[in-house]
Symmetry: C2
Subunit: 416 residues, 2 copies
Amino acid sequence: MDTNFASIITIGDELLIGQVIDTNSAWMAQELNKIGIPVKHRIAVGDTWDDIWNALDEESKHASIILITGGLGPTSDDITKPLLCKYFGGKLITDEKTLAHVQNIFINILKRPMLDVNIKQAEVPDVCTVLRNDKGTAPGMLFEKNGKLFISLPGVPHEMKWIMSNVVLPMLPTKFKTTNIAHRTLLTAGIGESFLADLVKNEEAALPPFIKLAYLPNSGMVRLRLTASGDDKEQLTTALNSHFASFKERVREYLVIDEDLPIEAVVAKLLKQTKTTVSTAESCTGGYIAHLITTMPGASTYFKGSVVSYDNSIKNKVLHVPKNTLETVGAVSEETVRIMAESVREIMETDYSIAVSGIMGPDGGTSEKPVGMVWIAVAKKGATITKRFDFRHSRERNIQLTAINALNMLRITICG
Amino acid sequence: MDTNFASIITIGDELLIGQVIDTNSAWMAQELNKIGIPVKHRIAVGDTWDDIWNALDEESKHASIILITGGLGPTSDDITKPLLCKYFGGKLITDEKTLAHVQNIFINILKRPMLDVNIKQAEVPDVCTVLRNDKGTAPGMLFEKNGKLFISLPGVPHEMKWIMSNVVLPMLPTKFKTTNIAHRTLLTAGIGESFLADLVKNEEAALPPFIKLAYLPNSGMVRLRLTASGDDKEQLTTALNSHFASFKERVREYLVIDEDLPIEAVVAKLLKQTKTTVSTAESCTGGYIAHLITTMPGASTYFKGSVVSYDNSIKNKVLHVPKNTLETVGAVSEETVRIMAESVREIMETDYSIAVSGIMGPDGGTSEKPVGMVWIAVAKKGATITKRFDFRHSRERNIQLTAINALNMLRITICG
């Protein structure tokens, strides 16, 4: 039996004018992969009858499962429901269960009267199976046609995720044969993509055809991913683990971690393992490092806090950087970040601390201290390391690169 | 003459397994829209010969301009260049200008020896026009076939953006007729999508066919967007402005701003206009509010800093919340955020301050203080307002909602 592929269609003019970034389909692809359903295509189309219709035709040629998100809201820019009704040859009827659910939301949660448009949300094509949506008023819908499955979901991320996790993902393996897919990822730092490729060329040449290699460069780090797929799960896992071990051994010098984790998760793991704590003193990153650290659940066990000293007066008043230092060598200097790191470590009583100061742009650079120049310090008891970086990108990317490099310096300090 | 549409093809297995989120195509769509080229489709395909080939065939049926990103790196998972060579019937030759550029990068910037794979980056199909890439080693390539334009760009965001901004976007209007497209957006808060739709139903009914209305709900706010397109620029602008004014008048009570700006930009505008300053004291958001504020260029004129008091000891030591308060009413309480806001405003000597404390989950909730419960305070001279929120979502979304609602409370305070 052939592999059953999925295609994801996202609907909405906002995707085609770039007003919103589509995070739904990346999440869906991830979850489908986990249960062994590879995604063939992802396509975004506007709120236009013909475009949606053609996308349904086209994607059902490539895939057995067509997932559709968006276009199910209560307002009139949403045409998906009538279109699906016509496409699958049904007529709209009121689904009593959904109506009761919508009424319950308005009476007990929103405590507001229902509008006609809300009642219409309980209407579904009579040819679909309704997929429960505990998180909102628009239900999901399942259609079958010529052995293909079409699943329409609301575009609001937490509603889509609830229906996927609770209804769709448990159901798919009962309807379709799934493939075994396994990924393993190495995160490296301090080596560029082409040098990494050169380093692992023998390991790459030794890969069997069912294992694919990919390089994913991002913010100064490169992820190296092996993907194995096939029918014999045991053979596949054995081969993947063995090849993965060779790659890991080869890149040892540059290895950050042998899992697909962001740097803030790597640092979280190390701090938990060593039962140590960290604080930050941030100027140019404006709290972004603290934010990254606290995106991890349970961060309160190892993160105590941060002083965001955006203004020089705060560097002096709260972090005790002498006025003289700020006036002579300046806020963006080795001396300033060193004092910031040591002060915040003392104030917050943590084992480690991070401090950053730099010029993120687009304005504020000088010939001596150009945009992108950053000093980073990491302090521990009795020792502070400092390093200068020069990034040459947009403000957004300079902030990201500063944060990621600062967390990587903390990682090296904890490991060393 | 018909409208010339663009299609965007993004290439990479990482997009289909959900390992990365595609931000490139949203940016490209935005820029193309600005110069009057609407985007018809966005499609993501894997690093697979047939899938890329078919996507080129398929998209050239729908669009005059096909933009392709990804698959141009130096490593062997990148098959785009040989494929394009074959698709357009050329052969690979070394482009001397590109080679000199790559050599310059290695000698003068990276200061490392070149590898064979780097030299190969200077190879291009002899049937393409090379598009300069000042930000990296992989050049862009332009092909023409049957009156359609195919533009291949590297997937690294800042390289793609440089080539688009400096080469592609200036060139397109010289090759194609562009359409006049204009968007105007109202940002509203405090009213749900369906109630908003009910509120503006008369204004919606009065719209001419060349103006489309869309609702974009996001993090507790709803954006209402009018899009006009057509050949007569003057007529279009006049009609759009007049209808926009009616919508604006109707939603006045809920209006945040009449531009497509995120809340942090709205707050930035107000603080600059009133020449006032702000600071934050953050517990559960871990620096995210300060980060949002400092994403705006020039934030240093109105933002002085933040104390991220994740641990209660920092709330006490740095922000002077009495131990007794933390022990009796607790960290997540009206009293605590009030003191946090007033203390940070005093320490940082700012006109306004924001303080937040809550339980973001997934753990840490109790029946009395459940996950999602948040207290927010905004202080100004002589007055502090506080408000309790109960969010019921993921950790990530709870942090976002807290930050956006805190910034909105600041906005209301400044305006009030």
